[in-house]
């Protein structure tokens, strides 16, 4: 469970302060599927970065499973990030010199897992994602959809509680995009909390809970009963 209490975040753009997040209060329960929409510069990405512990709020509190993360050291935050949060980026962010399988194993490698344990965990993920044939290929040999599936595999291989996706279909054609969305929704159905930041209205509408942001503030928070 994620809980955001009165979070503010201000950037300096030149000497002009820009309030990217204004007094955000949010509670996201385990297994929720929500989308965050809004115009450019509305603070969606900043919210995602704060939720993913990549950015630290200027004020307010942010609890993950009832533990305050704002006061944590950078090293602790890195560990929480590793254990509880998976990221899916618009531009995949795969490491070009590593194969698909190695990219998926990367979080486990960084966490110091043994090769045997890594292989075991990645094998089931690779199979689930339908990447068995492409596991030994480098990212540059994969299509956009396949790359995003590798990225999703990397995000979920450590079984995080939350999956944060920033425009996951932004670089994909509609068919690959649909595949990726279907995959993400399957993962959500299996219990992972899914948060999608997007411009795409169709994608945003698929979520059971829809948040709309304008100028750094949440202006709409709609729940749809399943």
């Amino acid at each position: 469970m994620l809980r955001v209490d009165g979070v503010n975040r201000t950037f300096m753009l030149g000497d002009q302060p820009v309030r990217a997040l204004r007094d955000i209060n949010l509670r996201i329960d385990d297994g929720e599927y929500l989308s965050v929409m809004g115009p450019s510069g509305s603070g969606k990405s900043t919210l995602l970065n704060v939720l993913g512990l990549l950015d630290r709020p200027d004020s307010g509190r942010y609890f993950i499973d009832d533990v305050d993360t704002v006061s944590m050291s950078e090293e602790r935050r890195a560990r929480v990030r590793r254990e509880k949060i998976g990221f899916v980026f618009q531009s995949y962010h795969l490491v070009g010199r590593l194969t698909a399988a190695e990219n998926i194993e990367l979080p486990m490698t960084l966490a110091g897992w043994s090769p045997a344990r890594r292989r075991e965990a990645s094998a089931s993920v690779i199979e689930k994602l339908g990447l068995t044939e492409r596991a030994r290929h480098l990212p540059e040999q994969l299509s956009g959809g396949q790359r995003q599936r590798v990225a999703i595999g990397r995000a979920i291989v450590m079984r995080p509680e939350v999956l944060l996706a920033d425009e996951p279909t932004g670089n994909l054609d509609s068919r690959s995009g649909d595949d990726v969305v279907a995959l993400l929704e399957t993962l959500n159905a299996d219990g992972i909390t899914l948060l999608v930041v997007t411009h795409d209205i169709d994608l945003g509408r698929r979520a059971r809970r829809r948040i709309r942001m304008v100028d750094g503030a949440v202006v709409e928070d709609v729940r749809e009963d399943a």
Binding site: N49, G52, L54, D55, E74, E75, A78, R79, V80, R81, R82, E83, F87, F89, H93, V95, G96, R97, L98, L106, P107, T109, L110, A111, G112, S114, P115, R154
Partner: protein, 400 residues
């Protein structure tokens, strides 16, 4: 991250830019290689000189004709003098108090032949005292005729010379021709080492008077003086100088050196020289270090997005730093390894070419070169690695 995974991860990163990595590795290996080669040459020269002098013994003085006017320089090892150093001079020195024995020496090269075989050989004219001072035993046969004035045409031949000239035939009692004079072989030398580039196994020893007439000269090459065990080296040196000045019309025209003092000053000079050339090689290590810093800075800015990703995947700043330091250390270590290999190969080749000199970098210099190389790599990668570790994940992910 496990150590093996860390090394693998870094290796993949280096391999991705293999040309760049290889060039960096070469620059490091040049530095390490030059340190190994330069110290190896210096050490070889030092050992050689020490070995040469050590074989002379501690209680020995060498009297050379001629005098070096300026102090502090090398004595005239092969100098010529206005007045000859004669056999009579040597006999006079032998009568001085504190002197145990003297060996006058004449040295020259000549064509030595026996039957159909001949070779160029060093011919030493001396007396039996020479063998005692140099601790060389006559292996077979007998010694030279006693005294310093006998011109007997007899020779004692070194082992190598015997093999070359007699080829399995019996040497004792045989004849050798030295520059067309016939000599009877009365002895064969036992085992002996070499000194001053002269291996006694290759020499032919004849009575000193015979050698003087053989080479048609008046002056001795040098006189080796062994002093008594309880005598003071410096006082004996003074006595010899006084005696020779008196015998040579008041001109102090001989040089008396003690191998021991020469040895220590040579040692000092050569150690300093080795250190100086080694530090010149060390400069190239620093140059390689600056190169590592540059390449690491480029690498960090090229891999900004990767660093952002690693942070998003939960890698701590410390580990980001470790990754970049490991890459630098791996390159430096590989370069050092290559440098040591090349250096050692060069030393091996040098030993093959000059077997009498024990070229070889001492272990401390190899260890120091490798340690400095890896240390330089780490020091110069510290700044870029720190820059990488401090990147903000959000900015890094977008490549800013």
């Amino acid at each position: 991250m496990r150590a093996a995974d860390l090394l693998h991860f870094c290796f993949q990163a280096l391999w991705r830019n293999r040309f760049r990595s290889l060039m960096l590795l070469f620059s490091m290996s040049i530095g390490v290689g030059s340190v190994v080669i330069l110290t190896g040459l210096g050490e070889g020269a030092r050992q050689y000189v020490l070995g040469e002098f050590a074989s002379l013994g501690k209680d020995v003085l060498v009297v050379l004709p001629g005098r070096k006017e300026t102090t502090g320089g090398l004595p005239p090892l092969t100098g010529s003098a206005a007045r000859d150093l004669t056999v009579e001079d040597a006999l006079a020195i032998a009568r001085l108090p504190g002197v145990a024995r003297v060996a006058p020496m004449v040295v020259g090269t000549a064509e030595v032949a026996a039957g159909a075989y001949s070779r160029e050989s060093v011919v030493v004219g001396t007396t039996n005292e020479f063998f005692d001072i140099r601790r060389v035993a006559i292996g077979a046969g007998r010694a030279l005729p006693p005294g310093a004035t006998d011109r007997a045409a007899v020779a004692i031949v070194g082992r190598n010379a015997v093999e070359d000239l007699f080829r399995g035939r019996r040497a004792l009692g045989g004849k050798v021709r030295i520059a067309n004079y016939r000599y009877r072989v009365i002895g064969v030398l036992g085992e002996s080492g070499g000194a001053f580039g002269m291996n006694l196994s290759d020499t032919v020893v004849v009575p000193v008077a015979s050698a003087l007439s053989l080479f048609n000269i008046e002056s001795l090459f040098r006189v080796i003086v062994e002093i008594r065990a309880n005598a003071d080296l410096d006082r004996v040196r003074e006595r010899i100088l006084t005696l020779m000045t008196a015998r040579h019309d008041g001109e102090p025209d001989v040089t008396v050196i003690s191998p021991d003092s020469l040895l220590s000053s040579f040692n000092d000079i050569l150690v300093t020289l080795t250190l100086v050339v080694a530090s010149i090689g060390g400069i190239s290590l620093v140059v390689a270090g600056v190169l590592i810093m540059n390449v690491s800075l480029i690498s960090v800015s090229q891999r900004t997005r990767e660093i952002g990703l690693l942070k998003a995947l939960g890698t701590t700043s410390t580990w980001i730093r470790v990754v970049f330091l490991t890459e630098a250390a791996m390159m430096a270590a590989a370069g050092a390894l290559l440098g040591v290999t090349v250096g050692q190969a060069a030393m091996f080749a040098a030993r093959r070419m000059y077997p009498q000199i024990a070229f070889g970098a001492p272990a401390w210099s190899i260890a120091a070169a490798v340690a400095i190389a890896v240390g330089t790599g780490l020091v110069f990668a510290w700044l870029p690695a720190g820059r990488a570790s401090r990147l903000e994940p959000v900015k890094a992910l977008t490549g800013r």
